[in-house]
């Protein structure tokens, strides 16, 4: 929201600097995102009178003597075609800064500093300037659009600073307005806050006008969509004379970044800026049947807007129609067919309230965002709608560009909402919420500054809320109004003196997760965090089949891009992507983990809350191998005081010979393996990559509580066994059978594997260290029996013999 200081001054006597006002606005909740100094780049330019002007022969130049009052008289060489003795023009003294223009004298190419110089050998102590060189245009200053010198009135004092004369001493406040204050999306709205914060009276804009009897009676306005248009006011103005707007109006539009078009259009734009009410003017002769029908568009109905874009509409779009056709997209833009032309003489002005959602949806679906749609999307109050029409009619009369008739059609629907709200609030309750004692007298003063009507009765304040403050709803809103002007500095920190003691901290589940992260970090892993969404392409990357369950991902209806369009069903693609990124950046080894959710829907498109499952992803690359990553999953098992079992398995993206399915108590909880060489090649990876993914939510169910086992007073016995078995017999099977054969076995650890000449072909030797832990009695003399039993079991189950 842009508000020029000069315009604000039209309503409030501002006696502080722009910076001070910025600070005051900030303190009451209006952050000035940028304070723009209009003439920031212009300095050292004064009024100069050309007192001598001689042509330089053979050139277009003139050598002038320029009287700059108390700054002196300077010789300046000037090439402008309108330089002559007696004129006054802006004179940039040596050291001044002005805009440099391109050869076309119009395009600004940066800021230049004026230096003493010579043109064709003639000394020149400064420069006479055009409007463009000062950053002006025809809307900002009359005559500034001319390519030659900017001519100043004779009344200007020689040597006077040019900036106040041409309006360059102004500031523009670019203010961020919170969503609850659509009433401040206008210069006047901001002025009301400025008046309150400076404790000044506000000068209201003049909304008075007189009417003549209308020559027409047949204008008919029908609201067929009161749900989308709660209020519509039309007013007929005749004898319209289209002409340029006066300077003051053009300047205000220009400072807010709008171009002047003609008086009628300018008035609607002016009202938009001043009051925040978008208006529209229809050329009455183009409205068939002199009818205005507000209705939903028919599907496929077409309209060409003022900017000559054609749109096909749907039932969701609200349109303003005459008897036959749409003439405007409500709240967004008028139609080309009813545009104000230079020869327009009869105008129907529109001021209406269209509901936010409808305008927003239309502007979005059509991709047509305008100043008008932006305001409607933020919300327009009918208080403003009424005020705006009156103000527009006043301006018609002030600018003498038409005759205001008495034909005023005000369509109020059942959804219309006007009038002043009344409420009673308690001073005590307000102070109880704030926690400080704001005196009632001060409360009244603040509220009156904000145009509330206040009557105090004991502890109660009876309030009449201004019509433009639809956001005020209860006493907390009043408390906020009071504290933002009383000052948040007065809020002193206290520490819940009245609250009960509560017991805080992590839940058991969070403690377990912290422990898990601690364990992984202590094993040298780095924790990563990746987006919860990716695309089907990421699943393609890992060769998931079209019908793989991972493909059954929830789609985001309005993704930021196709790359981030589905909710992830597995963490693997995210992990692989991070590893690929690291390798491409030259990070040749690493160990990573992520604990995050995947999202699993029963049916697509989803109807109910999907399941969110927490998963652990692990990825290692560089010098690490399968057993390094398996070591990490083993660490997790140990931490959870459980055991994982591994068996050879396949996954579409893993090496079929180097992949294990992981189970725990018979339940599948994940996999670990090497990224398939095929995918590695496709991704141009020059290091081996290993990934594991565990279902943490499932795993939590298998975590065993820690329990102390008393240590036996009898010693443990350790035996080494070298076994001969088939090459294909998995180590995991052997271990399982060793444990199964004897309940005293507390640990089995493989310490050597041998294949080669010393052993029969197709066989391998596996050497295990087996620990037997006694219970209540010594076992030294039983161990031989245990070993026999183990060997018997191995022979029977797996055809394994002692080597």
């Amino acid at each position: 929201m842009k508000a020029p200081l000069s315009w604000l001054k039209a309503y409030v006597d501002i006696d502080v600097t722009a910076e001070e006002l910025q600070a005051k606005l900030f303190s009451c909740g209006f952050e000035v995102e940028e304070l723009i100094e209009v003439g920031k780049d212009i300095s050292g330019v004064v009024v100069g009178e050309v007192i001598e002007c001689e042509p330089v022969e053979g050139t277009h130049l003139h050598v002038c003597k320029v009287d700059c009052g108390d700054k002196g008289i300077f010789q300046i060489c000037c090439g402008a075609d309108n330089v002559e003795k007696g004129i006054k023009a802006p004179c940039a003294l040596v050291g001044a800064t002005v805009y440099a223009t391109a050869k076309d004298h119009v395009t600004i190419e940066g800021v230049m500093t004026i230096k003493k110089g010579k043109l064709r050998g003639i000394e020149s102590d400064g420069m006479l300037c055009s409007g463009v060189e000062l950053g002006l245009n025809e809307d900002l200053y009359e005559g500034a659009g001319y390519c030659g010198l900017l001519l100043l009135p004779k009344s200007c004092k020689n040597g006077a600073d040019i900036k106040p004369i041409v309006g360059l001493d102004d500031y523009i406040f670019d203010i961020s307005v919170t969503a609850n204050r659509p009433d401040c999306q206008s210069v006047y709205g901001i002025a009301r806050e400025v008046a309150a914060v400076l404790n000044k009276k506000i000068k209201e804009p003049d909304c008075s006008y007189t009417t003549v009897k209308s020559d027409k009676k047949d204008i008919k306005i029908t609201d067929l969509a009161p749900d989308l248009c709660p209020r519509y006011i039309g007013h007929y103005v005749r004898d319209v004379k289209c002409a340029p707007s006066p300077m003051w109006l053009r300047q205000r539009l220009a400072k807010c970044g709008l171009r002047s078009i003609s008086n009628i259009v300018d008035i609607t734009n002016y009202i938009l800026l001043e009051l925040g009410q978008p208006m529209h003017a229809f050329d009455l002769r183009t409205l068939a049947g002199h009818e205005v029908n507000i209705r939903r568009a028919n599907d496929g109905e077409k309209i060409t807007t003022l900017d000559e874009n054609e749109f096909a509409l749907t039932h969701d779009n609200l349109v303003i129609c005459d008897k036959d056709k749409p003439v405007a997209i409500a709240g967004v833009m008028g139609g080309l067919n009813s545009e104000i032309e230079n020869d327009t003489t009869e105008v129907l002005f529109e001021a209406a309230k269209f509901v936010r959602d409808s305008v927003r949806k239309t502007a979005r679906t059509l991709g047509q965002h305008t100043d008008s749609s932006a305001l409607f999307e933020k919300g327009v109050y009918e208080y403003t709608t009424e005020l705006a029409m009156a103000r527009a009619l006043h301006l018609i009369q002030e600018l003498k560009c038409g005759t205001v008739t008495d034909l005023h059609v005000d369509v109020k629907t059942e959804n219309s909402h006007t009038g002043e709200k009344e409420m009673t609030v308690s001073v005590k309750k307000i102070n109880a919420l704030l926690g400080i004692e704001v005196p009632a007298k001060r409360m009244v003063e603040i509220l009156e500054n904000l145009n509330f009507k206040v009557t105090v009765k004991g502890d109660d304040m009876h309030l009449v809320v201004p019509g433009y403050r639809e956001d005020i709803d209860g006493y907390p809103d009043i408390a906020e109004e009071i504290i933002r002007f009383y000052g948040y500095d007065n809020i002193e920190g206290t520490f819940l003196p009245s609250a009960s003691i509560t017991n805080g901290g992590f839940t058991e589940e969070q403690k377990a997760e912290n422990k898990l992260k601690d364990a992984l970090v202590s094993k040298g892993l780095y924790e990563i965090s990746t987006y919860s969404f990716y695309s089907q392409k990421d699943l393609d990357m890992l060769h998931f089949a079209p019908d793989a369950p991972e493909r059954k991902a929830i789609r985001i209806l309005n993704p930021i891009s196709e790359d981030l369009s589905i909710m992830r069903t597995t963490l693997a693609p995210s992990m692989v992507n991070v590893i690929v990124r690291n390798l491409r950046r030259g990070n040749m080894l690493g160990k990573l983990f992520e604990i995050s959710k995947v999202y699993l829907a029963d049916e697509l498109p989803i109807k109910d809350f999907p399941e969110e499952r927490e998963k652990i992803a692990i990825g290692v690359w560089g010098k690490y191998n399968f057993f390094d990553i398996k070591g990490i999953t083993e660490n997790i098992a140990t931490l959870l005081n459980t055991k994982f079992e591994y068996e050879a398995a396949t996954k579409p993206f893993l090496h079929p010979g180097i992949t294990a399915k992981i189970t725990c108590d018979g339940a599948e909880i994940g996999y670990v393996g090497m990224l398939s060489p095929e995918i590695s090649e496709e991704l141009a990876l020059d290091r081996l990559v290993y990934v594991a993914e565990l279902d943490y939510d499932e795993l939590k169910k298998h975590a065993k509580p820690f329990k102390y086992v008393p240590i036996s007073k009898h010693p443990e016995v350790v035996r080494d066994l070298a076994l001969t078995c088939d090459k294909a017999t998995p180590c995991g099977e052997i271990e399982k059978e060793i444990y199964a054969a004897c309940k005293y076995v507390s640990n089995v650890s493989l310490f050597d594997v041998y294949e080669g000449e010393q052993i029969e072909k197709g066989k391998k030797s596996m050497a295990y260290k087996i620990t037997f832990t006694p219970k209540d009695e010594p076992i030294e003399n039983k161990v031989d029996g245990f070993v026999k039993k183990i060997l018997g079991n191995l022979k029977f189950k797996l055809n394994i013999t002692l080597r």
Binding site: G435, E480, I483, P497, T502, I528, S529, S532
Partner: protein, 340 residues
């Protein structure tokens, strides 16, 4: 005999003259003092000595033995000293060579900040509650006083999964789930991922928030300020102050934006605080009456405050991380610095 003794003494002197190692010394020692050594042999020869001479010769021989032993002990001591010195010098290492370090892991910065925040607030009696990341319209908006047509919905661009289901845009959604199931006194923290359709250097479509909620009797805006002062001091340093300024959130009234005094420059103005002396860190306010009512809590009996902060924002401020993207890229050169 005396001659023999002199001879032996002489040959001992001769033998030990160039001895360098204790091993050679041991051999020499054996040659003279060993069971078959020269001195021992002389001793054995005693029986051939006439009895009357035995005492004097015995004396001589004994003296020889003692002399020899002392001689050897002295030399041995010397050699030991020498050998130890040599050992020390041989085994000398370059102590400035690098130590063997076990591979160190690292936490994601968010985890570090999250833990720090939780421990601060846990000490003040807050419990942690984690709600679902996929929410419905009711919990994310409507129950937070943001009905369908509310202007505040534009403040956050929402990712929708269906007409009703969406990716939560704020951890405030968790507030409602807690208040529906728990009656005051309530002190909860709700950390977690949130999602908004926004992507540039300072915005990410996914980020993390930490929501705090207190509901009890007689809770005031001053209590909010007191708690945030405590938070700011613990996270950013003892001298850091907070400043409240008016703002707007649909689920709080009054609503405030909370700034902390710049911990880099102490409030004089620097690059971090863009010369203002203050840094915006979170939004907060007194819980809106409609929100309490909607959860079945009587707003005339109870009041409360809520605050919400971006965990990445705190992390970026605290660690001086200049680009939010770094937090989600997983670059090991970035990650390895956060050792806790």
């Amino acid at each position: 005999m005396q001659d023999k003794i002199n001879e032996i003494e002489k040959s001992i002197d001769e033998a030990v003259k160039d001895v360098q190692s204790s091993k050679t010394l041991q051999e020499i020692k054996m040659r003279f003092l060993g069971k078959t050594g020269e001195i021992s042999s002389l001793m054995k020869n005693m029986r051939d000595v006439p009895p009357e001479q035995r005492p004097s010769i015995g004396k001589l021989l004994n003296a020889l033995r003692v002399w020899t032993e002392e001689r050897f002990d002295a030399i041995e001591k010397k050699i030991k000293e020498f050998e130890l010195k040599k050992k020390y010098s041989d085994e000398k290492i370059d102590v400035t060579l690098p130590g063997k370090v076990s591979e160190d892991g690292a936490y994601h910065p968010n985890t570090l900040i999250r833990r720090e925040l939780i421990s601060i607030f846990a000490g003040m009696g807050f419990e942690v509650f984690e709600g679902p990341e996929i929410e419905n319209d009711y919990y994310n908006f409507t129950a937070l006083n943001t009905p369908a047509d509310h202007p505040a919905r534009d403040m956050q661009d929402t990712f929708y999964l269906s007409n009703d289901l969406l990716l939560r845009t704020q951890t405030s959604a968790g507030q409602i789930r807690v208040m529906e199931n728990k009656k005051p006194p309530i002190k909860i923290l709700s950390p977690g991922k949130v999602f908004r359709s926004d992507d540039d250097a300072t915005h990410s479509p996914m980020f993390s928030q930490m929501e705090g909620l207190v509901v009890d009797k007689g809770i005031t805006l001053c209590d909010l300020k007191g708690m945030l002062d405590e938070f700011a001091r613990k996270i950013f340093g003892a001298g850091v102050k907070t400043r409240l300024r008016p703002s707007y959130f649909p689920f709080t009234e009054p609503s405030v934006e909370v700034d902390v005094s710049c911990f880099e420059c102490g409030g004089c103005g620097c690059r971090l605080c863009k010369g203002t002396g203050w840094i915006e860190v979170l939004g907060a306010g007194m819980v809106n009456r409609h929100v309490l009512e909607g959860c079945g809590i009587d707003p005339d009996v109870y009041s409360g405050f809520a605050f919400g902060m971006g965990i990445e924002r705190i992390a970026m401020l605290k660690y001086g991380i200049n680009n939010m993207k770094l937090l989600f890229e997983g670059d090991t050169r970035f990650l390895k610095q956060f050792k806790a």
